[in-house]
């Protein structure tokens, strides 16, 4: 198992700059969530990791050495645009991709069967892939990418097209791979799945890295703090309005006073002032969600 390091990689296509400057590292066995809007440069970054595209600038290394074909064969790839041989049967297809990654026969078929069972594809094992539903094709693709127990598995939107049950099955499979020591890099628009699986995140927008770190680090770097106070009382609202830098937010699901404060605001002092002013039944400092961090990082309104 090795460490993947991207250092200031950039890639253009003619006049179009897809990736301007992206750097991050993925330690052995860890999981990185790559976030960004459509066209942000996520897929290009993933393609550079996989050696499909060569960076114009910067470097991609695995354990300190450039990623060559021999290293790449130890990686797994689940591209956003799925690719399967339509006429090939499920078992043959998975075994074939296993052989391409160096799994010799008859181990290829044995492992294919294990993945078929794990992903609930047993009844489709002898069916041509073209006859499968989109979700099942997606699972076959995952098995193709993971059959050889890759050291690094790159998954571009792995949950797209999956219903909640199949998404959970896939999530379980990814957790098992992670437990086995596989490093994961995945992009997804389903933030809750990413949040559950990843230790660290990298937000890209317009080809530039906007935020990077663990969720704790990203929250710590969040420029404001949100506090929620109950009950909704005028004397409490007055104190909050008088706090320097405070900005009232729309009320949440239940009636509460929600305010955004500067990160360096003294919340303890604020709590003391509120308690002195009247009955406070709830005072909560709300951490920004991954979605909030993401939206702020890409420049959209949180």
């Amino acid at each position: 198992m090795g460490t993947l390091v991207l250092s200031n990689v950039a890639r253009s296509f003619g006049e179009v700059v897809a990736v301007r400057d992206v750097s991050f590292s993925v330690p052995p066995g860890s999981t990185l969530g790559l976030l960004g809007p459509n066209g942000a440069g996520k897929t290009t970054t993933m393609r550079m990791i996989l050696g499909i595209l060569i960076p114009d600038r910067g470097s991609v290394t695995w354990d300190g050495a450039p990623v060559d074909l021999r290293v790449r064969r130890r990686f797994g790839d689940l591209p956003e645009e799925r690719g399967l041989y339509g006429k090939l049967k499920v078992r043959e297809q998975i075994a074939y991709f296993g052989r391409l990654h160096g799994v010799p026969p008859p181990d290829d078929v044995a492992r294919a069967d294990a993945w078929i069972e794990r992903l609930g594809l047993t009844e489709f094992a002898e069916r041509p892939c073209a006859e499968l539903s989109k979700g099942n094709q997606q699972k076959v693709q995952v098995a193709c990418a993971a059959l050889h127990d890759p050291e690094l598995l790159v998954l571009d939107e792995p949950f797209s097209g999956l219903d909640p049950v199949n998404a959970e099955t896939l999530l379980e499979a990814l957790r098992a791979l992670k437990a086995g020591g596989t490093s994961l890099i995945l992009s997804s628009h389903q933030m809750w799945q990413i949040e559950d699986l990843c230790e660290s995140f990298c937000v890209i927008a317009d080809g530039t890295m906007r935020a990077r770190g663990t969720l704790r680090e990203l929250r710590a770097a969040w420029p404001t703090r949100i506090v929620e106070v109950e009950p909704v009382a005028e004397q409490l609202r007055g104190i909050l309005d008088a706090t320097p830098g405070a900005r009232a937010l729309a009320e949440a699901d239940r009636p509460a006073l929600a305010y955004e404060l500067p990160a360096d605001a003294d919340t303890a002092a604020l709590l003391r002032r509120l308690v002195a002013a009247g009955d406070v039944t709830r005072f909560e400092r709300v951490d920004p969600s991954l979605r909030d961090i993401y939206l702020r990082a890409i420049g959209a309104a949180a």
């Binding site: 050696g51 499909i52 074909l69 790839d77 690719g83 052989r99």
Partner: protein, 408 residues
């Protein structure tokens, strides 16, 4: 197991199992058998039905004519006189004859008036067969004597000593024609199957997965080798079908009716040198077209676009076939010699020359060397286009972009 072997095996099995390959091979073999058998079968039937004739006129003339016409016709009846032009019923009544020939003296010669079901079929044969009567009537010489001397024995020898007789040389042309057509089919079908395979991988985005795992050049090489292997198998089946049906034609028809035996297959004899040349030119021809078709397919985004990129690549193949026809007639003309050295075209033209004439060994070696060098060059150029084209999506690249890719 290296990736080349993995892809080769997968491609080979996929091709061998594909309906297109099985159907193409079987249809090809059946067509070859039919081409071999039909002339003999149909020719035999036609000849037996069109041979029967009725002679009318002076009994002395018709008796002499009967002897002279024996070679080409069966005289089923001789009548001294007709009551007007004969009808089809008259022919039916006389053993379903094909024609009635009315013989009459005309001045110092002979005049023949024929009434036939197929008017175009008799004139030349009657004129040639009955010429001794015309000469005998004009000169007074006995008909048998004139007939005995009317044909000049001509022997044509091949100065190279390759063909024992002129008919053997004719047969060689037939064989060459057949083999060039097989070459054409095998090269085109297998090159197009590579194109379809590349297009499938490109349009379904499998290419992206493959390129992440193995070198595109290896991927291309494995595909071409697999297609070549299936091509060799296909050719083997076709050649075997041709040779077996040729032997069958000889056995079935040659004894009973020599004329019905088609010289193309009846005298089919192919030397091991020719087979070797055939396989060698298939290999180099296929390698050249295979890489070109693969590169072209890597540039398309939809399988519907295959036709537009494949079209221009058919031109040299068709040109090669046309020049091979000329090569059959003039195998050693300077222009045919030049064409037999040109890449892409020469696999067809040089093989034709080898089949019908004695080509100096240096020309064969030079042609093969040029073709191998071209195949290597095309593989290199196509490999670059393929490498880039495979991951190029969206608008098809312009010629300028392709040239830029090759220069990069």
């Amino acid at each position: 197991m290296n990736t080349l072997a993995v892809v080769f095996n997968a491609e080979f099995v996929r091709r061998i199992r594909s309906r297109a390959f099985v159907a193409g091979t079987l249809i090809g073999a059946v067509s070859i058998v039919l081409i071999a058998m039909l002339p003999a079968l149909v020719g035999g039937m036609l000849s037996s039905s069109s041979k029967k004739i009725v002679l009318a006129g002076d009994p002395a003339l018709t008796a002499t004519a009967r002897t002279l016409l024996k070679r080409d016709f069966t005289v089923v009846a001789m009548v001294p006189k007709l009551d007007g032009p004969p009808s089809a019923q008259f022919l039916d009544a006389h053993d379903k004859a094909s024609a009635v020939a009315v013989l009459a003296r005309s001045g110092e010669g002979l005049r023949v008036t024929a009434y036939a079901r197929d008017p175009s079929a008799f004139r030349d044969t009657f004129a040639a067969d009955l010429a001794p009567i015309q000469i005998a009537l004009a000169t007074g010489a006995p008909v048998q004597r004139v007939a005995a001397h009317s044909t000049v024995p001509v022997e044509v020898h091949d100065v190279s000593g390759r063909f024992a007789t002129a008919s053997a040389a004719d047969a060689a042309k037939g064989i060459a024609y057949l083999f060039v057509m097989l070459l054409y089919l095998a090269i085109l079908l297998n090159a197009q199957s590579i194109m379809t395979s590349v297009a499938e991988e490109k349009t379904s985005r499998i290419a992206e997965l493959l390129v992440a795992t193995l070198d595109p050049a290896r991927l291309l090489a494995a595909k071409i080798l697999a297609a070549a292997a299936t091509g060799f198998i296909q050719l083997g089946v076709w050649v075997a079908a041709g040779m077996l049906s040729g032997r069958a034609v000889t056995t079935l028809f040659a004894r009973g009716d020599e004329a019905a035996s088609a010289p193309l297959f009846g005298s089919l004899s192919v030397s091991s040198g020719e087979i070797l040349a055939f396989l060698a030119f298939f290999a180099v021809g296929f390698a050249q077209y295979g890489v070109l078709y693969a590169a072209a397919a890597s540039l398309i985004n939809r399988t519907e676009d295959l036709g537009s990129v494949a079209g221009p690549l058919v031109v040299p193949v068709v040109l090669g076939i046309i020049l091979a026809q000329i090569g059959l007639q003039f195998p050693n003309s300077p222009s045919v010699l030049v064409c037999s050295l040109l890449p892409l075209i020469s696999p067809f033209v040089m093989f034709t020359r080898i089949a019908v004439s004695n080509v100096p060994a240096w020309q064969v070696v030079l042609s093969l060397a040029i073709n191998v060098a071209t195949a290597v060059l095309l593989a290199w150029l196509s490999g670059r286009v393929y490498r880039v084209g495979l991951l190029l999506y969206g608008r098809p690249p312009s010629i300028k972009q392709i040239v830029a890719t090759l220069r990069a």
